[in-house]
Symmetry: C2
Subunit: 269 residues, 2 copies
Amino acid sequence: MKIGVFDSGVGGITVLKELQKRFPAADFIYLGDTAHVPYGTKSPAQIKRLSLRCARILKSKTIDLLVVACNTASSWALPVLETLLKPIPVVGMVKPGIEAALAAFSRPSLKDSPHSAILVLATRATVMSRAYAEDLHALLSPIPVLQQACPLLVAMIEEGWIDHPILRLTIREYVQPYVDQYPSGVAVLGCTHYPWIHREIEKAMPGWVVVDSSWAVGEMLARESFMRDVTASAKISDVPGSTEWIFTDEDAVPTFAKRWIDGRGDQAS
Amino acid sequence: MKIGVFDSGVGGITVLKELQKRFPAADFIYLGDTAHVPYGTKSPAQIKRLSLRCARILKSKTIDLLVVACNTASSWALPVLETLLKPIPVVGMVKPGIEAALAAFSRPSLKDSPHSAILVLATRATVMSRAYAEDLHALLSPIPVLQQACPLLVAMIEEGWIDHPILRLTIREYVQPYVDQYPSGVAVLGCTHYPWIHREIEKAMPGWVVVDSSWAVGEMLARESFMRDVTASAKISDVPGSTEWIFTDEDAVPTFAKRWIDGRGDQAS
């Protein structure tokens, strides 16, 4: 089984890592659209165009499943990608992200507190789509569901500022008003870049549970019938699957991600 | 005379403003490639591809002159743009930027100080090209010519953080080592986005002269023979020229720039 994983840049690598752990026998092909990162500041029309372009490349590589490891693309382009790839299944990040948020929120300390909230941290485009907010609101009302666009975080992560004092200040700038207002809650990382700085976000939000959808997408996939073969074959084979890398702009791959790619991938093309 | 002005985003508006002041009778057409901003983190091959795409759009609008109001594109794509547009003249930002730096450095207080330097602040791609550094070094040796890539500044400016404490910290992060080492010098803003934050950079560099090439490109153009007609006609006519706006992604135009566009342009298309 060959799984295509696509993101605007290196954010989707956080999802790839989880999937490799869970489905070690599967072959992966990762496509980072580094020629067009970031997606989160672009318009829906442009996000759809770029996502289709990437999906066409992966389709030509005869993948059996597409994981849209980019929340911005998942929020705006999922239906159009499904149409393009039919009958190949397409899995996005929003549904698993919502599942992760629900699971975290079911803790008694949160559920029963009158001062808890859900906060979706995402790109501007994902926030605009209200993809997370609407479903979470429908599922959890009357718990307040809030959204905060954090557009500079992707730029800083792609720049390699993943452990930088200015990154920490920028995170605080984005989350402090919510932390001040609610002593506890669940923050959903609605962007696959953010798990690179999960710990930093956690540190800025004492009392809050911070969840990301990388783990949840693996959970969700494991339940899908089309994944049974690869799950079963992993049990009988110790041969690890391969990983192929495609970046639409090779020279724009951040150094910190390159180190990871060289360490794990079979082929850094 | 119709002058095409092209930039990756809204940075080139700082150049457009200068040209409108100097050549009020000329018609302008501004193209901001907001669908692909930022250029400065991309590879030379990608920068050339994107620049050619924009130049083709402007060529189809029958311009008489192209101003590449983007240092990243000027550093890497000027020859290929000249080939595409021939015989339409193409003017980039690097030469006027170097002229501005030389003019500033000719002040006796700087020229005669043994502790002065030239610092080029630019995107990563412009720094990599050494377009400024090599010529400045050839012209000014043995004065030290230094370069600092400031990749997050374009992201912050496009985000509208032009008057934000985190912007000020980020500027300091980039320039402080040079200010500590040299009590005086000339800092060249080698990116047309940076004039939006000229004052903030100046405040972070006490003792230094900060110059940008927006003014210098007008100076340089005024000396060109093909500009004589428009300069002459401005003297006899009070009819101001028109300004047309094209953005490859309308929805990605920052609010602070929109206010300026609506205020000055004849047509915000």
